[in-house]
């Protein structure tokens, strides 16, 4: 408890690679939730004790696959009702997951627990530069209120330059239908 500033948490974490379950990395982090101002994202400082595995090969494969599509990528409901994600859509799902992580960070307080529930719609936006751009409408699940919040996010990605969320905004609930 830091008077006049907020609440700081020190965390000792073990990160598990979702795609390589036996790979773990230790991590320490400090999270500062600001007092009062619910519109500022919490401050996060972290240190990874070890390295994340390289994914260059898979990244380049996905990148080239999208770049070589005749038509822009368009998809809905990932995963579908039965929890299925087609192999071709796996990277699209993972990208949404990473990007929504940013959105969640920007919108988290000590009283929220947000998770990506589903990609409602995703549409690729053609660019003249080297970046891939995707316009996502995702559903975020907030654990405490149990609400499903539709959220739009514009995501830029490049194998060497990483992920950027250039724009995001929460959508009215009825936009789901």
């Amino acid at each position: 408890d830091i008077a006049d500033v907020g609440h700081k948490y020190h965390l000792d974490l073990v990160l598990e690679d979702v795609l390589a379950k036996d790979t773990t990395v230790n991590c320490t982090a400090e999270v500062l939730y600001h007092l009062g101002n619910q519109n500022t994202a919490p401050d996060v400082q972290f240190t990874l004790e070890g390295e994340l595995r390289t994914t260059a090969e898979a990244d380049n494969l996905f990148y080239n696959q999208i770049k070589s599509l005749d038509k822009v990528l368009v998809a809905e409901n990932i995963p579908d009702s039965q929890g299925s994600v087609s192999p071709a859509m796996e990277p699209v799902h993972l990208l949404a997951w990473v990007a929504s992580g940013y959105v969640i960070w920007q919108n988290s307080t000590e009283n929220t627990k947000l998770q990506l529930a589903q990609i409602r719609r995703v549409k690729q936006v053609k660019r003249s530069d080297e970046y891939l751009e995707f316009d996502y409408l995702v559903l975020l699940h907030e654990m405490v209120s149990q609400e499903i919040i539709p959220w739009q996010m514009t995501v830029l990605w490049h194998p060497q330059h990483g992920v950027q969320v250039t724009q995001h905004s929460c959508q009215p609930q009825h936009s789901l239908e």
């Binding site: 039965q82 559903l139 654990m143």
Partner: protein, 393 residues
Amino acid sequence: QKVFRVIPQNDEQVEIINSLASNIQVDFWQPDSVTLVRPKMQVDFRVDASDAFEVEDLLKESGMEYRVLIDNLQAALDAQFDSKARGTAHSYVKYNNWETIAAWTADIAAQNPNLVSRSVIGETYEGRPIYLLKMGKRGANKKAIFMDCGFHAREWISPAFCQWFVKEAVETYGKDTVMTTLLNNLDFYVLPVVNIDGYVYTWTTNRMWRKTRSKNAGSSCIGTDPNRNFNAGWCTIGASKNPCDATYCGSAPESEKETKALADFIRQHLSTIKAYLTIHSYSQLLLFPYSYTYKLPSDYEELNAIAHEASKKLKSLYNTKYTYGPGAETIYPAAGGSDDWAYNQGIKYSFTFELRDTGRYGFALPESQIKPTCEETLLAVKYIANYVLEHLY
């Protein structure tokens, strides 16, 4: 063969049923035996076609309230088996829609009459029958464990687990020592889907729906959160008074037909029900009271020890990690939960399971995970059931 439903009003009419049972062959569907018949109780029984006329005459003469539930039992059973081919077939490793689950409840009971019987404990808001399966070798004075699934519509892995449990019970009875002992000495009441209307809605319209589908007076918003609708600190914390919210507690405790039916059944069988399990998803948690307050229940030590062991058993199969503890501090404070209500009714062993996963797929858990999730959860449930059997009160 005909199946009758009668409601004896007094001891005299109960006596008529008694003498009927001693004169001809009567197979009691509910209650289990003629000795359990009491006034005002709904009594269902089957008789051979050859006796049906005599029975009907007797009932008419006695003035007892009755109706013919099933006019031709064989035809009804045949129709059930036929509909399985018409619709989508039932699978224990796929998510089944309500029509398929409903048909399955009839089939599983018909195929295993010595272990499974089906009854209806009420109707949903939209008029669907709420089926309950009673599992166990027939016997007198048996204590019971009540387990329900499908409180929240979008938690599809939950009803899948109830169906898996029933399958395991009928398939391993006589083969697995633990299961056999459990079914011989205890009854299991399994409610495969509590919130049927909501479940149907997730199949037809909105996969992420949570609540019931009841209309709310003065609002265009639909539904009440059934797990905020019980009379346990009702609506004091972690629940909303706004009908548009996902955790809306309802207009009053048990305002929902589904929760009222469940609560009524438990109240009616309170002397026999010794444990209450309610299955949800997701988060991988094993919770016990209280959620409506941070105050610990008087049985905290014991419940915590059981939860610890059950989580360990669950983890032993696929290394799935569960967190356990009292609801309020382990997940979040939330009033109106069925587990807290059951505990306060005197059902000491009251647990809420939040099944896989921890958020990667969340509610849309892949079908490929149904089997492993159910297998590991079964270990925990069997552990708890066995513990209950060894600590009956």
